[in-house]
Every structure is written in structure tokens, then in C-alpha cells.
Point group: C2
Amino acid sequence: MTDDQGRKRRAGGRAGMKARAGSAAIEQMPWRIPLNPDRPTEPLDAEGVQRVHKAAMRILSEIGIEFLNPDAVAHLKKAGCIVNGTNVRMDEDFVMEMVGRAPETFTITPRNPDHEIIMGGKHMVFVNVSSPPNAWDMERGKRSGDFETFKEFMKLTQYFNCIHVAGGYPVEPVDIHASVRHLDCLHEKLTLTDKVVHAYSLGAERVEDVMEMVRIAGGLSHSEFDARPRMYTNINSVSPLKHDFPMLDGAMRLAKRGQPVVVTPFTLAGAMAPVTMAGAVALSIAEALAAIVLLQYIAPGCPVAIGTFTSNVDMKSGAPAFGTPEYMRATQMTGQLVRFYGLPMRASGVCAANVPDGQAMWETSNSLWSAVQSRTNMVYHAAGWLEGGLIASPEKFIMDCEVLQMIQRYFEEATFASTDDDLAFDAIRDVGPNGHYFGVQHTQDRYQTAFYAPFVSDWRNYEAWQADGSVWTVERAHRIYKQILAEFEAPAMDDVAREELTRFVARRKQEGGAPTDF
Amino acid sequence: MTDDQGRKRRAGGRAGMKARAGSAAIEQMPWRIPLNPDRPTEPLDAEGVQRVHKAAMRILSEIGIEFLNPDAVAHLKKAGCIVNGTNVRMDEDFVMEMVGRAPETFTITPRNPDHEIIMGGKHMVFVNVSSPPNAWDMERGKRSGDFETFKEFMKLTQYFNCIHVAGGYPVEPVDIHASVRHLDCLHEKLTLTDKVVHAYSLGAERVEDVMEMVRIAGGLSHSEFDARPRMYTNINSVSPLKHDFPMLDGAMRLAKRGQPVVVTPFTLAGAMAPVTMAGAVALSIAEALAAIVLLQYIAPGCPVAIGTFTSNVDMKSGAPAFGTPEYMRATQMTGQLVRFYGLPMRASGVCAANVPDGQAMWETSNSLWSAVQSRTNMVYHAAGWLEGGLIASPEKFIMDCEVLQMIQRYFEEATFASTDDDLAFDAIRDVGPNGHYFGVQHTQDRYQTAFYAPFVSDWRNYEAWQADGSVWTVERAHRIYKQILAEFEAPAMDDVAREELTRFVARRKQEGGAPTDF
């Protein structure tokens, strides 16, 4: 079994981890949970926020949401909602009462408690690219996702301190049968990384298996697992106006065990949502709140968050576009609404570009800055996403991490502090009109940490860059990606937990894994 | 004379302009002066703004600024400043009194009054790349600037509606002798474009020549020229703490004729300025205010603006870095100070990258978004800049214009409007849970203008992109640049003005142009 071989190799290497710390492929920022100090950008005025809120409430009370899950419908019927078949309508008072039960902030603690994340407030965490069916890199071009590539991305996810969460599968490993894919993937995720992981809500068995694996990997009893968030799921509505069976089923299973659920409608303006951005946001908010109401009813106070995935189609091709001006405003407006409801928020780092070039980076920059501007707490797809989510790219992963590190540095108070030391009046007087600041004590005391230090950007002049081979950014990123993989060492793991995890996977595979309908 | 040939060819083509309007290389946004609706990002609290202000005042009153221009010193002495040789100290009351004379907003009207710009308030205009000594494109690589390349950039500047100002020379045409370079360059600028132009403050003769050429090109009498801003200059201090002779001379000449002066210190933290960003900003503000005080004293109420060019060095190479987190915060802090003084503000679209790749675009995006966040009124180098300003690139110009258009679209209220029409409740009800929005009337009525339409971004999926040749962004930009040049038609120009301009250039060349010291 390739898993076991991989495991043994990693286990053997653990002792060498600290010794090799000096030979890192890059110098990167230490782990931290960034705090976003900026006041959010607010395209809507207070009345505008109320108008979008009221539109969402009218959608919920007058149109209703389809819940394609009989348990969910039964719960909501019991709660007093108006039920017609799968259509459920709920009024504003009930919605706001249920939303009021949800915590504004919560933590998620992975098997390494040093990598605990905080969801809510001014905290912001970055999640790797999740769910592309394909991979692209400079050597191999575009190809279907496979398990080896999945592992590569897990290593990048663990390596970068600016990636806080090992989210969904960075590529779908189609070379593993769907019945056992979650077992192999989570085994790798829980051994190659020690960060927060996610369960796809794709059927009861998968969800239960992942919860059990997270519990085992953390060396936790069942009650310890249930006591606080240890993992999470992200569910999407089927816009417009629908929640499907497995997503609701998974969400309810997690909520009942106190594990967080992020609800992220995919409302593409002009396709599954109104062509107008405020309308697409209102629909998205209504769909998200509908699921959150259900979860708060069955598990009062369970941790939830609202995700936004509102963008627009390309009116020429019908393809989704990302990182557009409309995307940015939709993200900002969603942020205003989510703060109105007092919930944590998820957004994304996204682009429509097919390769990691200029377009990829301006679209990604647009989306990441709109995440900052909307005070997003969890940024999905923050590293590695291409082609509207159909491709995961390691070069893009490396390039995105540079941007993420710059955002983390941008948040640091040192960049805008105005103490007497920062204002440097004495240094200005001492240097005078004919001097240079490089040699003065004020500079010498601070220069090593004064500025962001890049790892893939090349700040040398053209001639130095040319003499070194005229290497464009994507090629530099490729080299770094290869070097990181070559040097990678898996994080430490308790041997008992590791062995129990491997036994669990073996047993569940023998049992056939999860049922598949194909 | 190549000038004349160029002129005649263009003159002959004018009639065809409108007829060929349908065969444009790209579909672009119409001309507009964008209005930035966002509340600025404010890293400093009110006390922080006061602290930076007071530090700048202490620099001006306790350390003083070197004015390497005897006329300037004489004026300031007469005004009551404390003068010691070239060192001039001024107190806060005097500074604030002089700053109070400057208008918060002003216009600049070029020869085509439809291309008038507004400086101040929420208005934002974009200026082409200015002053690189070199050019780079995909075919020819890096090479020294020349006149043919200068003309290419003038055509791009005129072509794009999102470029509002034909600023400095996009490349320095070193194949023209410095004594007559300004004559040839301004002749091309004033015939190939009809947008606001700029005079370099590099000696009395050059400044006077450019003012005269702008007057002639506009068909204006001397009093009509003096009556309102028709052009502008941008001066840089010699940081730290100095203003040199020609810059002050040019600035005073323009101010006396009511033409705007932008004062832009180049305070590179860790080199010519303190390593701390607030200190670098305080120094920059002090240097900028010193020149503005002089101008307001000699020409009360003359239009001025504060520019920021505060960034940091790369502590590894000493090279300037751009679009860094520190650069963004410096720009935002400067915006807060400039608004405190009630003046218009200039910033830039900049990067350290050597080629128009991913790094170029994330650095440029960082700088452009910080311009938005600081409510900058005039964005220099908004299209075409590479290698910290040492290279102008046509591909980068094209790529940047996509980002600029997206910023313009981002500003449009349609992206965040929340009227009943925008909230689209009826459409959401009518489409219901099983429909699609593409066909409904609400979409059909709006889809043609609902979303930003790109011209160089490729939003097709990978397979369509691959079937079309797998063309990366930089190559697409290269093709568009070539196509724009091939189709370019100069703007209409009054024949009398054109002939007078040509005669003026010929006469001044015969007289030897401007003196040079080499």
C-alpha cells in the first residue's frame, strides 16, 4: 500500500526535522493568525444594508427555500415554518432568533494545537485551493488530478505558514475509487499536515469517517472531540433557492457534534442568480441563512459561518468570471450583511485565468483585496487556484503565498505605527540634507525586520536578473515548488494515533468505504 | 524633418477617423473622470495624523529645508522665514496660512476641452508611465529609449480612454539631443494626443518653451493661457531635505502663470528617508509643504498638489521596491495627511518587476489599490511601468489599462446599487428554484452592460484557450499593442495652431533650443 510506504518514510524523517530547519527552500514568515486592522469598505450605506436584508427576508418568507432532505424539512416544520412539500418558508423573527444563537467567533483546533485557528472578528485565515478536478504545472501542463499530485499540494499546504487550513482536496484524485477516496485523502491530510482539515458533506459514511479520523489523529476521546470544534465542513446551496440532501445531511451531522459549518451559496449573477449584484447577494444571503437557521434550530449555538461565492458570468461565453469589479463589490456587500448578522465570513482568492500569468495575478489580487476590504475571516482557495477553480497549480500556489504574506505584513502595525521612534525626528535631524539613512543607528537597529522580505519576487535590477538567466516569475515559482517538495518533512505525529489511523483506514477499506452510485 | 512627415500623414488621416471608429483594435470604456465613492482606508487614527503633521512641522521649523535657488530663498526671507544660507526654516502658523491659500480642487484644460481633468475631491485620473530611460517589449527586449518608441507610447496614451493625462516622456528619447528634445517631444505629444500635458522643470528655457507650445496648440492668447490651468509640472525634492534650482525655478514659473505644480518627494525608506514608514512620510510631507509654501507665497491660490513616492529599499540589494505592504501603508498615510491639508493628491502605479509577469501585476495591483484606498486624485505611471521606473513596456501598458478599466468599473454605482430593480425580488420569485436567469427579462434588459467586459483578459475555459493557441497574457497584450498602433489616427487639430506649433519648433531649434551642460 503506497500509503504505508509514504508513512514509514515520513516517520523515519521526523527526527531530522529540526536539524534541517536551516536548509529551508525559502525564508518565510512565522505562523500567525493575522488580524485585519482596517475598517471594512462599505459600498452600501445603512439603508442599503437594510434593503438587502429585507430582500433576503422576503425571499425566505414569501418564496421559500427547497430543502431536499426530509429530516431537515421535518425539523423546520416542527419549528413552525410553513412547509409545502420541499418548500420551506420562514419569517424574519424566527430567522433572526435562530441566527442570534450562533457565536460571533469560534476556534477550530487541529491535532497540533499550535495551529488552532480563530474564526470571526478581525481574524483572517487562508485556506489552500480546494476541489479542482485538474492540475497544471509548467512541466506537465493540464491533466486530471491524481493522488500523487494531491500529496504534493498537501506538502505545500503544510509547508507554508501563511496557509492556515488544509481545506478540501486541492485536486480530486480520480485515480482512487470514490468509495475509498476520502479515506486515503484524509489519511494523507492528517499525516502530511497538522492543520485544520475539512470534510466534504457527500454522504453520511464519508462525513462520519472523516470525523472519526480527525478524532483518532488528534488522540481524542469522543467527548473530547465533541467538546470543541476540531474540523469543519463547507456546504454549497444549489442556487437558486435549493439545499440538496447530502450537504444538509453532512451539515446536520457536524452541527450536532459541535463542529463548524460554513454555508457558501454559489450565486453566479446572470446564471443561477439575478444579473444585478445586490440581487445576487440577497439571494445568496437568503440561501445561507436558511441552512444556518436549520442548524441553529437542531443544535443551538453551533458554530457556523456565511460564505460568499457571488460573481458574474462572462456574457460572451457564459463562463464564470472571477476577481471582477462586480465580484469585489459583491464580496464587500456580503461582508456588510454578515457583520449585520454577527457571524464569521468566508470569501475566496480566485481568478478565471488558465495559467499563472499577469491576468491570474490581477484577478487574484482583486479577489484577495476584496476579502481584506470585507473583513473576511476565512479565505478559501487562497493559494493555487486557476481556471475558475478547474485547475490547481503549484506555481500559482507559490505566487499566491507571496501575496498572502504581503497581506499579513500589511496588517502589521509596524507598517503604519506613529510613535516617536517611528517618526524618527532625531534621525532626520542627524542625517540632515546631505546624508544617507543606511548607515545611521536608527536604520541599523531596524533594517532586518523593517520591510517585507519576498521569496519569489525578484527585486534586482534588469541586468542582475538577466545575468541570472532572465527567469520569469512562474519559472521561479516552479523551482521553489520543486525545492519545497524535495526538502519536505512531515510534521511530528504521535505513533499510537498514527497506527490507529492506519488501522481505521484499512478496516474501512475492507468494509468497502462509502457507497457510490456509479 | 521626420516631425513634418509624421504630421502630414496624420493630417491626411483625420477625415477617416470617424469612419474607422468601428474597426477599433479593442472595445474599451468611454472617456470619463472616475469618481471614487469609497471611504479612504485610514491606518492612522486622528491622533496619528496629528503626530505625523507635528513631526513635519518640527522638521520645517527646527531642521529646515535647503532651497538651492536664490530667488526662492529671497522670497521666503521676505516672508519672514529664518534663513541661514540655503537653509530655510518656517513655523507652523506660516505654513498653514500658506497651505490654506491653495485650492482643494482645480481643473486642467488641454487643447481638447472634452479631455479636461479635475484634480481633487473624489476625482481620480490616470497618467501614462513617465520618464523611464529604457523600453522593453517582447520582440526587442530591453533597449534605450528612442523617439520612435516615444511616439508609440504617445499613441497608446491617446488611444486609451482610461488614460487621462499625457504626463512626462514615457521613454526618454536619447537619440534626440537634450537641447531640442523637449521641442520634438512636446510637438509629438501635442499633435498625437489632445490630453493634458506636462512640462519637466529642467531649466527656464524648457519650461517657457513648453508653456508656449501648449498655448499655441490650444489656439490661446497669452491671457487665455494664464486664465486657467492648461498644463502642469511635477517637481521632486532631492531627499532628504532639499529642493534644487531647476525644479524650484520651473515650479515658480508655472505658479506665476496659474499652472499647477505637483510636488512629489521621493523618500525611499532606509535610503533617503528614515527606515520607518511614518518617518519617511513625515519627511515627504515636510519637503512637499516647503515647496507649496513658497509657491503660495509668490502666487497666492495657485493650484498645487502633494505627490507621494514613499517606498522602501530591498534590504538585500539596496534597490527600490514598489507595491510592497510598506508602500501601500505609506500611500494611505499620505492620503490622510493630504486630506488634512485640503489639497489634491498624487500617487503611482508601480512595481519592481523587470517583465510584465505575475510579480509585475501583483505589485502594480497593490500600488493601484492603495491609490484607491488613499483617495488619490492623480495616479502617475498608471500604465506601462516596469523595473522600478527604469523600463516602459507597451505590453505592460495594455495589461495595466485592463486593471484601470476595472477600477473605473468598480467605482460605478451599478456594481453596488440596491434599488428594488437591483434587488430583483420579482425575478427571483419568477425564476424560482428550478430555473435559470439567463433568459428572463430582468437579465435580458441588463446583460449587455451588467458586467465589466475585458479586452485582454481571456475568460474562456482552458480547452478553448488552448485551441486558440495557448496565448499567455503578455503575448495577447503584445498583439493588442501592435494592432492599436496599426490602426492609430491622431486626434483632430486646428490647422492654424498646428502650423504655428511647427514654426515655433523650427525657430527654437534654429536658435539652439535649451542650453545643456554636457
